[in-house]
Symmetry: C3
Subunit: 337 residues, 3 copies
């Protein structure tokens, strides 16, 4: 259950105790994220933020999390400016860059690259996404959001009923979240997708073996009827075998206020990994839901900062010092707009 | 007259009292910008610097202003790395990014985009330029420079005589400055431009209605003869209807040392929004003026830091705490070159 | 021997006393780079990191060095976002940007550009590389590494025997290092290169005039036989006059474990400016040396942080205050991987 000095590479390294510990620390980060207090616990520490693939929100979320703990952030974005383009191995890159910081968060388009990098790094590495493989902080913030939203309803993750909707074949976030859910009891997962985009069979088997009750359907109205959470994801039209197939399913997995009201239990929580496509015709998660208090997508994004603060605090072993280094915030957080 | 918790989106939101307050705070920022003292008043605060259009000097000026107040800066530059490119709405972008920081400065190529973003933001937003629309900190730093330069001559903004020279049709900075000047008394503005590039008629009318004495001319020698300030801007040749027109005016709005000496009153202040084009043939504001003490263009750029510090201090309501959190600077500011 | 308020533009400005002073300060930075202690000596100071040409490792190394001293970093990378692209002179860029920071590090593809920039800057400028011209912190970190490695063997730089291997004609780092070595006594330099890529004759003459014992050879086995240091650099095939020449030399300057063991004295130190090309066929410095304790290439890269901290501390005149502003590090530097 110790995190100090460990890499965070994938969710397979976490048992339920780890998850509980991360969430407990994340909970304690709320006063800082809400700017009620500030802490200088990582004053003088440096995060190396190595984004070899662009992802503004993930990058800024990690960077802000480190800043909120008092540390500095040094960044690189993109490949154009890197020695990797000149034939440098990930081994060398890791040996060099890990001499510049106290922790590294890395995103890279190639599966397995972050683990390879971590092997040579001299400081703890957090995987910020390596292609289709892993993005553990996203899975954790998703689960943390489920936990927070259910807590507001007096419930825990055990006994959760969740629908995952959309592209379940290629969606990294739903795969990771599904795996994390196997650590909990009495979970029922309703998988709602076109047949072309079903959750990989092996993963469905894995969930079932570990006691998750899995139901598969291509009917939205069936899938989202009796759940606590609807986790919606984007379907890209080009994923279908033919235009005829795409046409067949067009708009069938869309969620808007009237569909929500008609099909879902009251207070069903709506989640989405973001970004959502809001262009006309995207038919994903309509903007008419923006004022619905059950739309949790921005709380979900906010929770990312809490979870990332927790991960940094844990791998650098300052989780229990954060409050000791804290002060009230002295600027105004008033909003007059 | 309260700024705390407000957005800074355009100059129309400022009356004379606001302008006076901003400038009074900006004046008090001088010891920090000059590195006589340092302050940690915003220690722990995070600025989200969102430049969806490149502008190195504006970006660094805002970032340094926030650093000088003790805060951290998280940045994004360009579109390539943003979810906006994947169809995310400004609403979603704002909801997400505003969860990562205490204030946001945003630049975007589209008119109105920053206001739209601000509507969904949960923290105060400063417009760092939205296309041809607004760039309020630039207008404020221009007016602050006029005030500072005239103060050195024992004068105030009331009674100002200013010439604006060059492209007055498309130049956002001269438009905003003109509007700001309507808040003051006995101002005389001399507009010097080719006829194709005259100030928009509506803006000239607006100034006159508010009591500004406006004179228009295409003769540089007439326009800059009896003024306190010459505000020069660039004329781009492609703005002319024909090459013949461009040829007709070529070099006619150029300012250099001999023209300055021949036509201007002694100690007339020279301003320019920068960057100036110093390539051969640009004929804008010649480098032989670089050593003239009346060339205020770099003081103008320096003043940008003061004004931006003031804006941050005001919207976060720490203007009156800045000195309480201050210390003498302990490094050397000696220059031996 | 005073550095305060001076630019660092090239190694010609350093005599032996300067070098000794830089290294003495760099030595004192070790506890901070090792995260045993942290210092806030430059808290409130801002580094302007202006990389008009990409170089991730140099940029991050400088930025981390400034952060380790407690300061903030504002950055720009690339040309796309700069006023220079709109015709702004380096003079104007320097006047403007130097108003935003306490020191500037600048990299630029054009020889002489950093010196030109420095002339107009109002704060001290460190040259982070101007084309083929100078990159003084690289030369200093190379020499500092030689000094550190030899100190572990009970030796000093005087009396050094070093082999420089590879492309000695175009390699900026070996040129600068060679010049720095002329400040020391009884130095023997063995230059190992294909005849097309020999060290420029003028530089060889300069070394000899200043008392360096220079031997030239195109035989690796001769050149690296009796030295303390092998400084390996990359040979690019396209440098050869013909493919036949390239074929002739292919693999002849490669260093791997078996060649090292067969030809070098025990404990010969291996250096390289990095990045090294680890692609198959690069034949430069093989990865089978990675676990050899005599491979100093990552210590060399780490030393860059020490040397850059020293340069900042010296030009801002805080070298003797660093420890006064220090505290023990409170986070864990444990490694469990």
């Amino acid at each position: 259950m110790k995190f100090a000095g460990h890499h965070i590479l994938g969710i397979s390294q976490f048992d339920r105790g780890h998850v509980d510990r991360i969430f407990e620390v994340a909970d304690r980060m709320r006063p800082y994220a809400r700017r009620e207090r500030k802490t200088s616990v990582l004053e003088g520490a440096i995060l190396g933020s190595m984004f070899f693939e662009p992802s503004t929100r993930t990058r800024i979320s990690f960077g802000s999390a480190f800043n909120l703990l008092g540390g500095h952030v040094r960044e690189t974005t993109g490949f154009e400016s890197t020695a990797i383009a000149k034939g440098e191995s990930l081994y060398d890159t890791a040996r060099v860059l890990s001499g510049y910081s106290d922790a590294i968060v890395m995103r890279h388009p190639t599966e397995g690259s972050v683990s390879e990098f971590a092997t040579a790094s001299r400081v703890p590495v957090i995987n910020g996404g390596d292609g289709a493989n892993e993005h553990p902080s996203q899975a954790l913030l998703d689960l943390f959001t489920i936990r927070s939203e259910l807590a507001d309803r007096g419930r825990g993750i055990d006994g959760l009923r969740i629908a995952m909707v959309g592209d379940l074949r290629f969606g990294r976030t739903v795969h990771s979240l599904s795996r994390l859910l196997t650590r909990f009891s009495n979970v029922r997962v309703s998988l709602v997708s076109p047949s072309e985009l079903r959750m990989p069979e092996a993963l469905v088997e894995e969930m079932r073996e570990r006691g998750v009750d899995v139901v598969e359907t291509d009917q939205l109205e069936v899938g989202i009827a009796n759940v606590d959470i609807v986790y919606s994801t984007r379907i890209q039209e080009e994923r279908f075998a033919s235009q005829a197939d795409a046409d067949l399913y067009r708009g069938r997995f869309r969620l808007n206020q009237s569909i929500y009201t008609a099909l879902c239990e009251p207070n069903t929580v709506i989640m989405h990994p973001l970004p959502r496509d809001s262009r006309v015709g995207a038919q994903e998660l309509d903007e008419d839901l923006n004022d619905d208090p059950n739309l949790a997508i921005f709380r979900q994004s906010d929770n990312g900062v809490l979870v990332r603060m927790a991960l940094f605090a844990l791998i650098l072993d300052v989780a229990d010092q954060v409050d000791d280094y804290s002060k009230p915030v002295n600027w105004s957080t008033e909003r007059r707009f």
